[in-house]
């Protein structure tokens, strides 16, 4: 367990003090684009595209710097400034560059940069293009703050920053009521997760007087079982909200209302994986509490099944990919819940998923671009010929996600299934089944979009997208294919010191032949075959066919997630509100207004005494005097 202690950060030297530039460049560009306004309409998107690329260059330089260091010194703290200093609390806004954060920084800036380039083409005719790029840069800055911070409080700043950027971008086309509502929904559901996150940070501050990773890692083993379990569960709630895990999954499908590059960058490749990052970063906490770790694994498994299930029934290409994203993040959570042996697999799958899912989302955007922004796959078909580059790049993503041998997803997903099988056979079996379902729904997507006969609507003439859009597709397709082979033997050892895992031995670029690996492959082939039998041989109806199949009906309704929320939270909430309003109107207002009416009535009655007749006043005085006199006399007598 000595490796669980992790790395002790060393002071920054060389290039490392410049790490803040990664965050500052996109942030400044976002600010400039938003503040300068229309002046930057003409060139703003180019500047905004250069910003993440510049950050990427810095990240590569730092990555090279880390590679050049001995393993024990691969965690560098870059002091920035003291953020809060009050009483006995000091919160330093420091950056932590370690093997975990730097791969995230590379993913965010690398994939983010490509998506910026793609967006130049995708958003070319949008009147809000400058605003769009400003928000994208804001997102990059916030996401980098999230992953580079060395304590949970500054992490939370980035956490909320990406939430804000996500909200702004989901409802980017705010003139569409569905988009505005979807943004609001994402915001509200994320607040539930943030509640867990803030409570977790409060717990840390109360227990350790600090929220830095170092203090929490060191203190976790000294906590009582109750508190450490609570902390683990609270962090899980936070992770569920951000990563769209059951039961806080409902916002992700609606989030597809945003522009497609946003879905690719924020709701597939980077932001939604922040929950996985959080769990892996808090590995010291989960090492102390098997309950919370098991909860993480169960949440992951439930989500990976639910996401795959939803993916099988949707006709909206983006929603299929969104269900698939939920499902793949479920795999990562499952791996993160299994513990030290699988942390590296969680991050490995996160990286490969970042490549192939961004690739497929951008591919879906390219298809939509050619199909007049139609997202209904029942109107596609036969696009393999008319959009060849999109097709081939998408095919690479497809082969990667279903786990074709030698493609990237194969290495990362099979590692997770194997690790799950060893530690939690039940969860492993479910993950195995989901691999088959994944193959099924992705093959369905391929048939409906690229392979079957044409079902194009009138007036739609599919065409390949411009180079500014297909070049990023090609650049993302390459890692979709090779990332697994390249990283398989390296990633475990690289991440081990940072995530407290064990350095794996005997891993090479060649896939390891194991029983479970072969079974997985068989299940995947079965999934593809079933999809071929159902969708490949018969023609696909253009309208949604009637079905009695309970699974399909449930899938089409997102497994009734919204209905559940509506029945369990919204309706009782409304009833409670109505009750409180009635209470306020009846009891509180009743008391206040009743008191006022009483005073009014009394005053109205007493007013009658002021009749203006002097005699009457005189009589009143006489009676008063007599009463007082009698009282005095009786007082004497008694």
């Amino acid at each position: 367990m000595t490796l669980l202690e992790g790395l002790t950060p060393v002071a920054a030297t060389g290039l490392f003090p410049l790490a803040w530039l990664m965050i500052a460049i996109p942030l400044v560009v976002a600010g400039l684009l938003l503040l300068l306004g229309r002046v930057t309409d003409g060139f703003g998107h180019y500047v905004a595209t250069l910003a993440p690329i510049a950050s990427f260059v810095v990240a590569v330089a730092l990555f090279a710097g880390l590679l050049g260091r001995p393993e024990a010194q691969r965690a560098v703290t870059v002091p920035m400034y003291t953020w809060i200093k009050t009483g006995s609390w000091t919160v330093e806004a420091n950056l932590l560059i370690d093997p975990l954060s730097i791969v995230f920084a590379l993913l965010v800036t690398g994939v983010g940069g490509l998506i910026h380039v793609y967006s130049i083409g995708y958003m070319a005719h949008d009147p809000g293009r400058r605003r769009f790029f400003a928000y994208l840069n804001l997102f990059i800055a916030a996401m980098l703050t999230l992953v580079l911070s060395d304590n949970y409080l500054v992490l939370f700043v980035g956490w909320e920053g990406v939430g804000l950027a996500s909200y702004l971008l989901i409802s980017f086309w705010q003139h569409k009521p569905t988009a505005a509502t979807a943004g609001k929904k994402a915001f509200v559901v994320n607040r539930v997760g943030d509640l867990g996150m803030t409570m977790a940070i409060f717990t840390m501050l109360a227990m350790f007087g600090s929220s830095s990773f170092e203090a929490v890692n060191a203190g976790a083993s000294k906590m009582s079982p109750f508190w450490v379990t609570l902390l683990g569960l609270l962090l899980l709630v936070g992770a569920c909200g951000k990563s769209a895990q059951v039961p806080l999954q409902s916002w992700l499908l609606d989030a597809m209302e945003g522009p497609t590059p946003v879905s690719a960058l924020i709701h597939a490749a980077t932001m939604v994986t922040a929950g996985v990052y959080l769990v892996v970063r808090s590995h010291a906490v989960y090492a102390e509490t098997s309950v919370a770790a098991l909860a993480v694994a169960i949440v992951g498994t439930v989500t990976l099944l639910a996401g795959a299930w939803i993916g099988t029934s949707k006709d909206d290409i983006k929603k299929v990919l969104a269900g698939s994203t939920m499902s793949q993040i479920g795999y990562m959570m499952l791996a993160a819940g299994i513990g030290p042996t699988a942390y590296a697999f969680a991050i490995f799958h996160l990286l490969t998923h970042g490549f192939f899912k961004a690739n497929m989302f951008l591919g879906a955007g390219s298809v939509m671009h050619g199909m007049a922004d139609d997202v209904n796959m029942r109107h596609y078909g036969g696009l393999a010929k008319s959009m060849q580059i999109t097709y081939w790049t998408f095919l690479m993503g497809y082969l990667a996600i279903i786990g074709t041998p030698f493609f990237s997803g194969f290495y990362s997903k099979d590692s997770i299934i194997e690790a799950a099988w060893e530690k939690q056979p039940v969860l492993g079996a479910l993950a195995l089944i989901a691999a088959g379902v994944t193959a099924f729904y992705m093959t369905r997507l391929m048939f409906m979009t690229f392979w079957s006969r044409k079902r194009w609507q009138e007036g739609v003439h599919p065409h390949e997208s411009p180079a500014v859009m297909w070049v990023p597709l090609v650049l993302l397709a390459i890692p979709s294919v090779i990332a697994g082979m390249v990283m398989n033997s390296w990633i475990g050892g690289w991440l081990a010191p940072a995530v407290g895992g064990e350095v794996p031995v005997g891993v090479s670029w060649l896939p390891r032949v194991s029983v479970i690996g072969l079974v997985t492959l068989a299940v995947v082939i079965a999934g593809v075959l079933v999809a071929y039998l159902v969708f490949g041989r018969t023609s696909i109806p253009e309208s949604v066919p009637y079905t009695r199949n309970v699974f399909t009906i449930m899938g089409r309704h997102d497994l009734y997630g919204d209905t559940f929320n509506e029945v369990v939270f919204m309706r009782p909430g409304e009833a409670l509100t109505r009750g409180i309003v009635a209470l306020d109107d009846g009891v509180v207002d009743g008391a206040v207004q009743g008191g006022a009416s009483l005073a009014l009535g009394l005053g109205g009655g007493l007013r009658r005494l002021q009749n203006g007749y002097v005699r009457s006043y005189g009589l009143t005085m006489v009676i008063g005097v007599i009463v007082v006199g009698l009282a005095l006399v009786i007082g004497r007598l008694v």
């Binding site: 009658r608 002021q610 009749n611 203006g612 007749y613 002097v614 005699r615 005189g618 006489v622």
Partner: protein
């Protein structure tokens, strides 16, 4: 000295004053009734001053007289003004200050 007669006389005077104040309508008569009540009080003050053998009561009665005189000055002038305006000193007509 036996103050009984004086007390009874003062009581009779005071009662006449009250009844007069309550039943009559002419402002001048009301005024006289008030004076009657004040003088009944003065009579009591002076009588008991004598009984107790000190001058406190008599001094107090002077104050009452002075205040009564001042009050008459103000009151009569108000009555004169009302009479000039409305050609009547009937207090029941002067009932504008009411709800």
């Amino acid at each position: 000295m036996n103050p009984n007669y004086y007390v009874v006389l003062a009581a009779i005077l005071f009662t006449i004053g009250i009844v007069g104040f309550l039943v009559r309508r002419n402002a001048l008569v009301l005024f006289m009734s008030v004076e009657l009540m004040l003088n009944a009080c003065n009579l009591l003050l002076v009588s008991f001053s004598r009984v107790h053998g000190n001058l406190d009561g008599q001094a107090a009665s002077f104050f009452v007289m002075v205040v009564a005189a001042a009050e008459v000055v103000v009151g009569l002038s108000i009555i004169v003004m009302i009479y000039r305006a409305r050609h009547s000193a009937n207090v029941d007509n002067e009932n504008l200050l009411r709800y």
